[in-house]
């Protein structure tokens, strides 16, 4: 005698054994299976025939597992949150450090003006970046590629130079204003790179291969 509930429990075990995770997506697949069984039974099929058709339509456990594994662990939504987090955290830090470094009396009024003007522009740019991400020029643009390359070269060299200056191993007196401008522009470059990285991964996900679906050939 065919027991529908037992058959569904056995099917669940097969899915679990193949690596389909619970509660999601297994609960979702089971919900679908039950809908199909109900539909088939309403159409006049026996419980066993309805179950067998539903199982066949839902597909093989291993194939399903392979498809579910194509879903990345962290989606673009989460990565966009990382970008927002970086942008919103770096702006107050940037303002704090610059105001402290460009204290009146330590720098000329003209130097302070240029330092604060640059910092303000950078702060506005970084704050708006999570919203303006889609309006950035194409990463294939040669100017963007050159800017990113220069930025990377500078990002690799500048911390080393700054360390050597602070240790007194090299004498390069750029002045606090120029140094602060360099740090601010560096932060803007890094935020821009992060925005491109987030968008790039989203595009990759968009271009991912389609589902393994089959067309019925009557």
């Amino acid at each position: 005698m065919f027991e529908l509930e037992q058959a569904i429990a056995d099917w669940r075990q097969q899915m679990l054994a193949a690596g389909i995770k619970t509660p999601v997506p297994l609960a979702e697949l089971e919900s679908h299976l039950r809908e199909e069984v109900d539909q088939q039974m309403q159409a006049g099929f026996s419980a066993q025939a309805a179950f067998e058709t539903a199982v066949q339509r839902i597909g093989q456990a291993n194939a399903l597992k392979d498809e579910f594994e194509k879903t990345p662990a962290t989606g673009p939504l989460l990565r966009r949150r990382y970008l927002s987090l970086f942008c919103f955290a770096s702006v107050p830090l940037l303002l704090l450090v610059n105001f402290w470094a460009l204290e009146p009396g330590e720098t000329s009024s003209m130097g302070r003006f240029w330092g604060l003007a640059t910092m303000s522009l950078v702060a506005v740019y970084i704050s708006g970046l999570p919203y303006l991400r889609r309006r950035l020029p194409s990463p294939q643009n040669r100017l963007v590629q050159t800017a990113m390359l220069i930025g990377w070269a500078f990002a690799l060299v500048w911390p080393l130079v700054a360390t050597l200056i602070s240790l007194g191993m090299i004498h390069l007196n750029l002045g606090i204003v120029v140094e602060m401008i360099i740090w601010s522009v560096g932060a803007a470059w890094f935020a821009t790179w992060l925005a491109y990285a987030v968008s790039g991964e989203a595009d990759t996900a968009e271009n991912a291969t389609g589902p393994e679906v089959t067309s019925r050939q009557d």
């Binding site: 999601v24 997506p25 609960a27 979702e28 697949l29 919900s31 679908h32 039950r34 809908e35 199909e36 339509r57 839902i58 597909g59 194939a63 399903l64 498809e67 579910f68 194509k70 879903t71 990345p72 989606g75 673009p76 939504l77 966009r80 989203a202 996900a205 968009e206 991912a208 291969t209 389609g210 589902p211 393994e212 679906v213 089959t214 067309s215 019925r216 050939q217 009557d218």
Partner: protein, 115 residues
């Protein structure tokens, strides 16, 4: 005559996302209903392997195109409902534009052949 039922697997796969987005623009729905709707509207020619719809829905959710919630059917059974997000609407518009372009080119070429 061209046999419509011979839809290549790649075309069926490529059309999955625009179809799902276009169905969800009318309001939230769930996997089984989406499959039934596509099957019905295509006269059974677009016949997805049912279980394979869910990885697609999950990927679309990860990309921020759709969102989901667990609810209950009229009979009290658990169901996962999907609805469109703002990015999903934008993606749907993009798909429509691209598919319309392809359709326009094909229709134009066919018209020329029939002249």
């Amino acid at each position: 005559m061209y046999n419509v039922s011979m839809i290549p697997k790649e075309l069926v796969a490529a059309s999955a996302e625009p179809l799902i987005l276009s169905l969800l623009v009318r309001g939230e729905s769930y996997g089984y209903a989406i499959i039934q709707e596509v099957r019905g509207r295509s006269g059974g020619k677009l016949n997805w392997t049912d279980g394979m719809l869910y990885p697609v829905l999950h990927r679309m959710e990860h990309r921020g195109l759709i969102e989901s919630r667990w609810g209950e059917s009229e009979t009290g059974r658990k169901r996962k409902y999907y609805s469109l997000k703002k990015d999903g609407k934008a993606a749907m518009a993009k798909h429509h534009e691209q598919w319309s372009l392809v359709h326009g080119v094909l229709a134009g070429l066919r018209k020329e052949q029939n002249v």
